[in-house]
Symmetry: C4
Subunit: 365 residues, 4 copies
Amino acid sequence: MESSNKRMLTPSDYETHADDYMDPAALAYIAGGAGKEKTLRDNTKAFETISLMPRAFADFSQASTQTTLLGKPMRHPTMLAPVAAQSLVNPMGEIATAQAANAFETGMIVSTLCSKPFADVAQATDQTKWFQLYFQQTRALTKVPLDKAIAAGFEAIVVTLDTPIQRPSKRAQLNNFALPEHAAPANLAPEPSAPAIEISKDESVIFQGLMTSAPTLDDIAWLKNYTDLPIIIKGVLAPDEIDQLLTLGIAGLIVSNHGGRALDGTPATLHMLPNIRKQVGEQFPLLFDSGIRSGEDVFKALALGADAVCIGRLQLYALAANGAHGVAHLLKLLRDELELCMALTGCPTIADINASRVIDKDTLS
Amino acid sequence: MESSNKRMLTPSDYETHADDYMDPAALAYIAGGAGKEKTLRDNTKAFETISLMPRAFADFSQASTQTTLLGKPMRHPTMLAPVAAQSLVNPMGEIATAQAANAFETGMIVSTLCSKPFADVAQATDQTKWFQLYFQQTRALTKVPLDKAIAAGFEAIVVTLDTPIQRPSKRAQLNNFALPEHAAPANLAPEPSAPAIEISKDESVIFQGLMTSAPTLDDIAWLKNYTDLPIIIKGVLAPDEIDQLLTLGIAGLIVSNHGGRALDGTPATLHMLPNIRKQVGEQFPLLFDSGIRSGEDVFKALALGADAVCIGRLQLYALAANGAHGVAHLLKLLRDELELCMALTGCPTIADINASRVIDKDTLS
Amino acid sequence: MESSNKRMLTPSDYETHADDYMDPAALAYIAGGAGKEKTLRDNTKAFETISLMPRAFADFSQASTQTTLLGKPMRHPTMLAPVAAQSLVNPMGEIATAQAANAFETGMIVSTLCSKPFADVAQATDQTKWFQLYFQQTRALTKVPLDKAIAAGFEAIVVTLDTPIQRPSKRAQLNNFALPEHAAPANLAPEPSAPAIEISKDESVIFQGLMTSAPTLDDIAWLKNYTDLPIIIKGVLAPDEIDQLLTLGIAGLIVSNHGGRALDGTPATLHMLPNIRKQVGEQFPLLFDSGIRSGEDVFKALALGADAVCIGRLQLYALAANGAHGVAHLLKLLRDELELCMALTGCPTIADINASRVIDKDTLS
Amino acid sequence: MESSNKRMLTPSDYETHADDYMDPAALAYIAGGAGKEKTLRDNTKAFETISLMPRAFADFSQASTQTTLLGKPMRHPTMLAPVAAQSLVNPMGEIATAQAANAFETGMIVSTLCSKPFADVAQATDQTKWFQLYFQQTRALTKVPLDKAIAAGFEAIVVTLDTPIQRPSKRAQLNNFALPEHAAPANLAPEPSAPAIEISKDESVIFQGLMTSAPTLDDIAWLKNYTDLPIIIKGVLAPDEIDQLLTLGIAGLIVSNHGGRALDGTPATLHMLPNIRKQVGEQFPLLFDSGIRSGEDVFKALALGADAVCIGRLQLYALAANGAHGVAHLLKLLRDELELCMALTGCPTIADINASRVIDKDTLS
């Protein structure tokens, strides 16, 4: 499989060639998006609206991609996004991913729906590692993965709020995707012990059923009391709701629409990023997710306000292609492309990457 | 045929797969639009210009899609649009549609060109039922279906004004479509008893012929005197003509371009909706027609000013696919999608769906 | 061939099916445009940017398409554009076209490069007939066709000014198009008697060669003295040059880019029409050419300022398809579509077709 | 091969048909662009946003394409861009190109990576000839080609600054392109005598490796002292960096993004041209590069502010097709098209080609 790297000249090659080495149903599950996949498409197309301004004379003798997040240095401004059930594509699952993160000095966010014990995953990397929390039906059930994650030494809690309901994509349904046993969550309560919800004829399965488990602002407040770990919110985009979260004292935000897997019709996150940066202020930790397919994309997200970016689907394609080596190679391709962009736009440091380095056609003539 | 539901994961699947189970000529007749079908295409494309703003923290414990139209409660803000000659695609025709409307608690508008006796259709549903009137060549001829509809217990009269002339679409002509005997209007005068119009050499078949039967404002006034039922106008878009109708005391408006079957080149109705809502005021009953293909589309039309929407072509595809079960399933898919949109945009009630929940790219950065 | 009319449901069907009955080289010659054919494409695409506003309540009892041009009544606001060498596609050539014009009460503009004697063409129609003049290398050579045209009874002179140089289109070249003997100009001087122009090494064949025959403002002034017939200019678009022509006392303008056959890159004429109407004033005779493919297009050109439109390529496709019957059928299709547009937009007369009947998306919300 | 000219009706035909006569790997190397080739595509698409305004009455008796650059007359405002390794496509390489330049009275810029001795190339043409300089790893290494170029009689130095790092395009990599021995640089130091750079684990091959050879403003100042030849900068687009260069006393600028081969995501150069012309003032020598595929494109670049344009890829396709004859024929096609544009837009001289001759749709109505 090592030889497949030859065709992997850019990060998106892992996506382009995924159907060569992945099970069609697993690929449909990973690649698919909500509804008509308009948000999925818009997330990547948004990057085409931004141009880069070349520069010639910056001094690169001290240049580096190093940056700092939550007070901790990072070798480069890229993290592995929380993706569920990674054993689906590789028997080592999240452990292989963590090995790649460790080898390429990259932060990693581990999903609630991780298919390997948190402790084993955490042990595989000395780099930044955060835990992504999906609130469960009851607080007792929520504490099961949460306590394990805290015990495993994760350094922050990322709470995902954009998918109180997540339907399988149409692609996944048409491919009859079902999660295999070996990729099932390894860190949740042993069996579905929450009481079934009863829905009357005049009620809705969605409203009076599924949405009763949706996390509330109170849940975030509870979590903040429950642990001293910094809390980062992923997937809240409405300005007033962001304000509520800031008031509550969260430590960071991840601008995300769940890679187009949640509400189809949501705008591309790249278009929402500048206003959110404006709202939270220059110093607040802000990550970007949904749509990154190249180092050039990383550069553009940083230029428009992100401190770092998260890599979702590409991570899984690379894991499927070549395990830990695939993921490490993907991360290397991303950093090489980012460095090339920095070199040709005159940005020796991550701090140099700002709005003045990108350009909008409307301002040209 | 029940098994075909498996492929029907979204409402538009009934359209996508229609050629698997429909006679090509009947499909051409139903699917086709006027002229080059630009309006037909624009009607659906217009929805892609509107984005949805996700929200996380609304309380859905009391949520529902219930709403009120002309003072009567509706389980959800969707109605079956008046579509002619439904026996074309199912032997039970409009009776099957009415059964579905009844089963899924949905309002129905029955066409003047209904292929089943009005009384039989009306009897099949306890839900909201309105009668759609095409004015005939003379008032005497118009009274024939009108009196039958009033006797059958329809609760409102919807007058369609956008098609004084309606040519068969090019698709229908190329497929040699002709309405079969069993789908002919069942409620009109027994034979065409109106006198033939004579056209001189210097006159036009269109102007001095067909247009002499076009309904006028006087006809609406006459109708208002003739019946106490509320009168709803479908297909008038010009602001000054809407004003004339409001002055006359109509009870509601349906913003429609006849699904792109009347004047090709008419703008997408979704683009015209906000200004018409502005013109008629917040409380005036306003329905939307032409272009709805998903629950997300329903949400967007409500957000831009509609109180409810009408479903036209999809209704016929579902009726063709699986009779009353098909239509009921279609309505369920539409409501599920609408509920999902409401859940993920933080709208527990129909009243919460307003312009603040949709977003225009231009406002983003 | 009569039966082919069955497939000709809209005017543009004559274009769509042209390759079924036309010689490929002749079709390439007629269909092709200058350069990369961007102007050719833009001419038709421009019509898609204009929408129509439907209306319901106008009175059509006295409606008609009748209008007046240069003081003479016309049955409908459409003229046959001057197209060269019509014997290329039909042995009767321009005589057949004139018969169609006569039968369908349509004005006709006959080209300098007409393949039949002017007298024969003029004799075939009692309708409005104008003569299109290409200035020749010398005034003596120019007088040859001009005198014949005046003698034949043409009622106005249309001077084309946009093609001092006209290269065969790339399509025509790739198809090795050469004008056959029987389609050669029938009304020019018997042999090329003008002296050959000598070009030095430092001069240009285009500048010091071909452009020396380009007509000047002086030539127009000379023509105005030479004949009392009204002079109409075709193909001048620059505002200051239009002003010069107005000062000279021309009788009308045809807004045209030669159907995209002259300078590729010229804007679509439809986009230039409103400003030119503004410049020449409401009463000045203004025709529109380049891009008309339907009665809806005729309506839009009138709404944006034209008094009448010219039909170029479609005329030749219809002539090729079915001779005089084809052209008459084409004209009928165009008028039917125009009447339908008028009926559904509430315009009982040509004078009612103005800018208020078309609509721009930007004004909608 | 002479007969292939028959298919070459426009300059871009040499590009369209290149795969008929070129080695796939060589073609991939020449045709490819950086990254996803967005800039490559945008460079040519930008020309489609500009329209031409036709004019009828200009006097062309004295018309010509003659112009002046750096005080020296040019027969037409087109130069052959510096392209490396031309022996790749023709055994005579840059000598054949120079012969074409001489025959068609065209300026030529010879690349540092020229595959033939500078003296031999310079000897082949009496027309304007400039030398394009890539700074080498050390000044000593830079002097090797520089001294040879000065000795060969080149009249100006063009310093390229947009590609301190240039990766082979993805196309070139996928085609396993490698520069053959016979196309290697013929004028550089005999062997890579610069010391290898050592990179530590925490450093970057790009930043601490490749970028250490990137030319700085000091290098330009050094060059200015080293030679009296005028210095022209190619590929600097940032306004403040242009200001620095103007202060340094450069003699001209070439607006270029290296034909989309350097930083993908850079805006089309045509969109940047007007502002740069505004910045440097009306008299400063300004050339345009990247995207020219026709004489119409030449016209548009001149209208938006360029004094002359450079032809890159087309030059190589024509050289591959037919050696010196191919390049001369290409130049003739370009000038013919430019002359035709000038004739039909009323521009008898290059000085007449200005912003008033092009038109933007937004200004039309």
